[in-house]
Structures are given as structure tokens and as C-alpha cells.
């Protein structure tokens, strides 16, 4: 076996060079949402059927007669990606059962923005999660309705100025806190929930792979930096995603069958931790949480100093 000098560099090579979300789409420069879509498509490969909601990612990828999709893809409307995916999954299941389509493993992916997920699509999503369809739902959270011109959503963070929560003379932007959509998904008792960010591509790809392996619904909430809507230089998208994670503004974690854990990626990519048993990882996890809580308390105690 070759000696791997740097696990960091090696790990990136595990991601396929093949693209199923083709270049030439019409996303803005530095769009981390398009990057996230590309990574998800890489992770899932060709055996997938995608149902997309209306929103930036649909508009930029499907201007008739062109398409960026090298996998089967359907868009019906804004709020129903989860329902369309439910129908595709159920339809394929029965066709395979009846022998009209040869049996094989196909992954069903529903994708939508934060508006298409936590606002207008939350009912269809809840229904699909509750019914237990075998599919992955991915929310690409760029924290506003970008496609229609940066209007606020329930996923827009407190304080942010958008075109419908402008920083006015009396009201300083968004006055509500970000809706905790991953927690809403967890409340459906589904096998897998995770948060991810394309600034951490390996972690993202691994989570998508894991989601594809579980039987039943999986939900991944991907923070997707939008330079256009966030009023940010395009070259800062990746950095902004990293900062969101590092500062705890957008923590990366997984909930497997109700068990919460911080992402294992930190440990996994390092050869020096490769030998760790599940219990040892749990011990480390516990300690990390304790330390984090202590730190939070200290921050609170010294607030206003």
C-alpha cells in the first residue's frame, strides 16, 4: 500500500471527477449553492432521480431547451418537491414490484431552497417524512428567497437586511430568529438528519452518501452562501461558510436515529485517529460537548466586560 503523505490531499481524491450537474449553468459567480448541488450530484452518482423545487437552482439549470442535469430530473412547482419525490419513489417501487421496471437501487432526491423548505414547502415535506418514503431531502439554505430578489424567509437570520426585511430607520432588518429546520426534521423521528456546508466538501459528500445508505427518509440542511444575497464578494463564499461553522453560527452535526453527534469528519480525515473505536469516539464527543458548554458559560459570564 502506498504511503499517504497527507490525508487531507488524499481525501479529496475520493470524490469523483465526474460531474452530473454540468458546467455552463447560469448561477452567479461564487454561488456556493450551485457548488453544493454539484457536490451532492457527485456523491449520488448516476443512479438517482431528482425532484427539484422552483428557486435559483431550478432556474439556473433548466432553461428549455438546455439542461445542466445529466441525471433524470423533474421540476413541478415551488412547494412540492417532497411530494413529487414521494410519487416518483412510490411509483418506481410499485413498477419494480410488478416487474415492469427491472429491480435495482435508485436513490430519490428532493431538493429545495430554504423558502421551498421551511416556509411554503414545510407541509409537503412533513407529510413525506411522516409517511416514511425512502428518499433524501436536501434544503439548500441561502437564508432568503434569492430567486425572486432576496426577500426574507423564516430561515433568514436575525438582523439580516433583505428586500422585505430592510434595515429601516425603525426596524433594523429581520427581527425574528432563524427557524430551526433540522430540528423540525428530527421531530419526525427519521433515521438520519445532518447539517452540512460546501466549505467542507468531504464532510458534505460523506453525509450525502450516508443519507443514501439509510432506508427511509433522510434530511440534510446545507448552508449555502449566496454572495449576491449576502452582499459579499464572490471570492469570499467558501470563507464565509467556514466562518459560519467555526463560530458556531451554523454548527455541523448529525442525528442518527435520534442520537446527536458533532460531525466525525474532523477525526476521520486524520490517520492518527483512524484506529478509534465507537466508544472512544463517544467519549471524545462527550468531552467536546462539555468543554463547549463551559466555554459558552464563560462567554456569558464575561459578556459586557
Amino acid at each position: 500500500m502506498e504511503i499517504v503523505e497527507s490525508t487531507n490531499v488524499y481525501a479529496y481524491k475520493l470524490i469523483t471527477k465526474k460531474d452530473y450537474f454540468a458546467p455552463g449553468h447560469r448561477a452567479c459567480q461564487g454561488c456556493a449553492e450551485a457548488l453544493a448541488v454539484r457536490l451532492v450530484a457527485k456523491a449520488l452518482g448516476r443512479n438517482v432521480i431528482v425532484a427539484s423545487a422552483t428557486g435559483c437552482m431550478e432556474i439556473i439549470s433548466s432553461p428549455m431547451p438546455f439542461t445542466s442535469w445529466r441525471v433524470p430530473w423533474i421540476h413541478v412547482a415551488f412547494e412540492n418537491a417532497a411530494a413529487v419525490a414521494s410519487g416518483a419513489e412510490a411509483g418506481m417501487k410499485v413498477l419494480m414490484r410488478k416487474g415492469r421496471v427491472p429491480k435495482r437501487k435508485i436513490t430519490f432526491l428532493a431538493m429545495a431552497g430554504d423558502g421551498g423548505t421551511s416556509d411554503i414547502g414545510v407541509q409537503a415535506l412533513s407529510g413525506a417524512l411522516e409517511r416514511g418514503h425512502d428518499f433524501i431531502y436536501i434544503c439548500y439554505d441561502n437564508e432568503a428567497y434569492m430567486n425572486t430578489g432576496i426577500q426574507r424567509s423564516s430561515s433568514t437570520p436575525y438582523g439580516a437586511s433583505t428586500t422585505t426585511s430592510p434595515a429601516g430607520k425603525v426596524i433594523p432588518g429581520q427581527i425574528t430568529w432563524k427557524k430551526n429546520m433540522p430540528e423540525i426534521a428530527v421531530a419526525h423521528n427519521i433515521p438520519y438528519v445532518a447539517t452540512a456546508c460546501p466549505s467542507y466538501p468531504i464532510d458534505l459528500v460523506e453525509k450525502v452518501n450516508k443519507a443514501a445508505r439509510v432506508k427511509g427518509p433522510a434530511y440534510i440542511h446545507i448552508l449555502s452562501v449566496c454572495p449576491t444575497g449576502w452582499r459579499l464578494a464572490p471570492e469570499l463564499s467558501i470563507r464565509a461558510g467556514r466562518l459560519a461553522v467555526e463560530t458556531g453560527v451554523f454548527p455541523l452535526y448529525e442525528v442518527e436515529y435520534g442520537r446527536y453527534r458533532f460531525t466525525e469528519e474532523y477525526l476521520k480525515i486524520q490517520g492518527r485517529f483512524r484506529h478509534l473505536s465507537e466508544e472512544m469516539i463517544d467519549t471524545i464527543q462527550k468531552r467536546v460537548v462539555e468543554e463547549y458548554e463551559k466555554l459558552e458559560k464563560k462567554i456569558k459570564m464575561t459578556e459586557g466586560d
Partner: protein, 393 residues
């Protein structure tokens, strides 16, 4: 000949869906559609029908699930009424534009408000221009036959459009009628397996539902309307084939004692059978009256209407929906347009009646006839329609 049994029309509709070997049923309960989906869930749970029954959280999702299922090549069925139709409205239009041959039974019920569970045609008329093939059934047997007919037409290669079967809520859904079932062999002979042109499958990736920029949008829409118009010939031959197999022949419009009639009633849905009795009674009184029942609503059977009504002096068009602030009911509006260029235009009177389950009896129809005969003397204009039997008017 299949067995003939007395059965609630809703249950027999579900049995027809079973005979059509539907793959995916997605529905949300709403009166008066409920018995149909309840029975379908029984058939699935008892193993009598091998299908996925998806108990969705709303009608919007019912139509969305049907779209997804149809897009992978599954035969999809759904069923709703009034508010449910309104809630799924957005997707109803999209399913037609995507050429997904979903079949839907619409148990016609009035649109809110005020909220009412009872029957009229205000629900279907609200989506008249949704791009689906739309037929009306006059009785339970027609409902049964038209489920099988529905899939045959919707899924034919040159059509590939969704289809609505309108059945009057309660008046049809909740009554027990003698229904002649089809033999299994008859179904096999009539209805082939669904062979979609494109499906979502990893082996042949396609993009469905892309963005229509102005440079392609109009072309896309005309490419949708053309097959709808042309579906009429498929519809007529599917009715012919149905008749050859089970002995019941259907046509876009149905006429009754109309040949020599000076005055024709025109109806849609279950009122046709009531009015046929009225025609008999008026004939007995020596009046020259007949009936034309509209079965095919979209594509609109222009030629058939012109032919059936061209020689008639008076038309009494019965509408069960309102076009607020407009020129009467939707049926009257279309028929007036169809006859606009005719040489001998009949006098047209239009009555809107039976809203939200208000009974319209044989005597009422006779009364309508006499009112119409008075009205034609004054050459009524299109806006001179009457809300029949409304107090305080």
C-alpha cells in the same frame, strides 16, 4: 357480459380503478369524494389491488405525488372535490403542460363560500382552462366505463394528457345503481399497459419541467393545445371500441327526442336523466321539446353542437355554475360562441340553477320551459340569463 350488481356509484368507481390496474393512488379526503378513496384503500389493504396508496397531507400533494408517479411511468389516480381541487389547482395546470396522463374523478361540489358540501359544477368550471380532457358522466355506469376509457384516452401516444371524469356529488356518488362490471378479458382487450414516451429513469436521463423563457413559451403552449384538440378523434374511437366490447356506445353529446324538436334543453351531468323525463311529459302535452346532453366538455365538441342545435328554434341551456359579472353560465357562453356564425341562430335562454344541491325537480324544469318560451319573445341578450328559483329576485 360482466356481472350486474347494485352498488353505490363511489364504490363501483373504485372497483373500476382496480380493474384499470392503477399503480399509484394519492388522495386526500373531502366530501363527497370520500367513499371512492376509502374503498380504494380497502382494496389495496386487502391485497385486491397491487398499488401504492399514498395518504397525502393535502390535495396539493395528491396531485404532486400523482405527477411524480406518472413521470416514472406509473398509472396514477386521484380524486377530489371543490376545495380540494382549488388547493391542487396550481399542479393541475402543470400536470397538463407536462403531458402526464393522470386520471382524476371530480365528485362535483360547490366552491366555498359560503362553504357547502353539496353538488353543482362551480368546482370544475374554475379549472375549465387547465388543459385536461374533461368529460361528464350522467350515471353510475358511465362513471365505471369512463375510468377505463379515461386511461385508454389519456395514455394514447398522440394524446398523453390528463383526464377528468366529472360526477355529480351525492346525486351520483352516494346513490346505489345497477352497475354492469366488465370481464377481466374485456379490460385486457380494451386497455393496454401504460407505455409512456419518456420516463424518469437513470438509464435514459431526461429533464422534465424546465424553465420556459419567452422564446419557447408560446411554442410550448401551442404544442400542448394541439394534442388536446386532436384528442377528439382518439376519444371518439375509444368510445366506439368501448361500445363494441361492452355494448354501450357513447358520443361527445347525447341527444334525446331532439330530431324534430323546436326547443332543446341542454344539460351537463346527471340533470340530463331528469330532463329526459321532462321531455317525455312535455311531449305528452304536445310540446315540441328535446334534449342535448353534453358529455365531452374539453375538447369542446363544436361540430356536434352545431349539428344538433342548428335547426332548432330555441335553446334552453342549463348551467350549474356562475361566471360572476359575465354572460351567464360557462356552458351557455361556449354554445353561444359555437353558434355565432350560424345562419339560423336559435334563441338562447340560459338558466343557472341547482347551486350547491338545491333540488331542481321535474316541475321546476317544466317551469323553466314555460319561462323560456316567454323570454324568447323578447329576444334575450347574453347577459339576460336567469338564476332560477332564487328567493327575493
Amino acid at each position: 357480459m360482466g356481472k350486474r350488481i347494485g352498488l353505490e356509484v363511489s364504490l363501483s368507481a373504485a372497483e373500476a380503478v382496480k380493474m384499470a390496474n392503477v399503480d399509484c393512488i394519492a388522495a386526500y379526503p373531502i366530501t363527497p369524494q370520500t367513499h371512492i378513496v376509502e374503498h380504494l384503500s380497502e382494496l389495496v389493504n386487502d391485497g385486491e389491488l397491487d398499488a401504492e396508496f399514498i395518504p397525502v397531507e393535502s390535495e396539493h400533494s395528491a396531485m404532486s405525488v400523482s405527477a411524480g408517479a406518472s413521470a416514472v411511468g406509473a398509472r396514477a389516480f386521484t380524486c377530489t372535490s371543490s376545495q380540494g381541487l382549488s388547493l391542487m389547482n396550481e399542479i393541475v395546470h402543470i400536470v397538463a403542460s407536462m403531458r402526464l396522463p393522470v386520471v382524476m374523478i371530480l365528485a362535483n361540489r360547490s366552491m366555498s363560500g359560503p362553504i357547502s358540501i353539496w353538488n353543482d359544477h362551480t368546482d370544475v368550471m374554475s379549472i375549465r382552462d387547465c388543459g385536461w380532457i374533461q368529460v361528464f358522466a350522467n350515471n353510475g355506469q358511465e362513471v365505471f366505463d369512463h375510468v377505463l376509457f379515461g386511461y385508454k384516452v389519456a395514455e394514447s401516444q398522440g394524446v398523453m394528457l390528463p383526464l377528468i371524469i366529472n360526477i355529480d356529488g351525492f346525486i351520483l356518488t352516494h346513490v346505489i345503481e345497477p352497475i354492469e362490471f366488465w370481464e377481466k378479458e374485456q379490460v385486457e382487450q380494451y386497455l393496454p399497459d401504460f407505455e409512456p414516451i419518456h420516463t424518469l429513469h437513470p438509464d435514459r436521463p431526461v429533464t422534465m419541467g424546465g424553465v420556459g423563457m419567452p422564446y419557447v413559451f408560446s411554442e410550448a403552449k401551442v404544442a400542448q393545445d394541439e394534442p388536446l384538440k386532436q384528442s377528439k378523434s382518439v376519444i371518439i374511437s375509444a368510445w366506439k371500441e368501448l361500445g363494441d366490447i361492452v355494448g354501450r356506445y357513447y358520443s361527445p353529446i347525447e341527444t334525446y327526442r331532439s330530431g324534430d324538436a323546436e326547443t332543446l334543453f341542454i344539460t351537463q351531468g346527471s340533470y340530463g336523466e331528469t330532463v329526459s323525463l321532462v321531455v317525455d311529459e312535455l311531449r305528452d302535452e304536445g310540446k315540441s321539446v328535446g334534449l342535448v346532453m353534453d358529455r365531452l366538455w374539453r375538447p369542446f365538441p363544436f361540430d356536434e353542437f352545431r349539428e344538433a342545435t342548428g335547426q332548432t328554434r330555441n335553446l334552453i341551456i342549463i348551467d350549474r355554475a356562475i361566471s360572476y359579472g359575465g354572460q351567464g353560465g360557462p356552458l351557455a357562453i361556449d354554445i353561444r360562441s359555437a353558434l355565432y356564425k350560424e345562419k339560423n341562430q336559435p334563441n338562447i335562454t340560459n338558466f343557472i340553477c341547482g347551486l350547491a344541491g338545491r333540488d331542481v325537480t321535474i316541475d321546476d324544469f317544466k317551469n323553466i320551459y314555460h319561462k323560456a318560451m316567454q323570454k324568447v319573445k323578447k329576444h334575450p341578450r347574453e347577459e339576460d340569463f336567469e338564476y332560477y328559483g332564487v328567493r327575493g329576485k
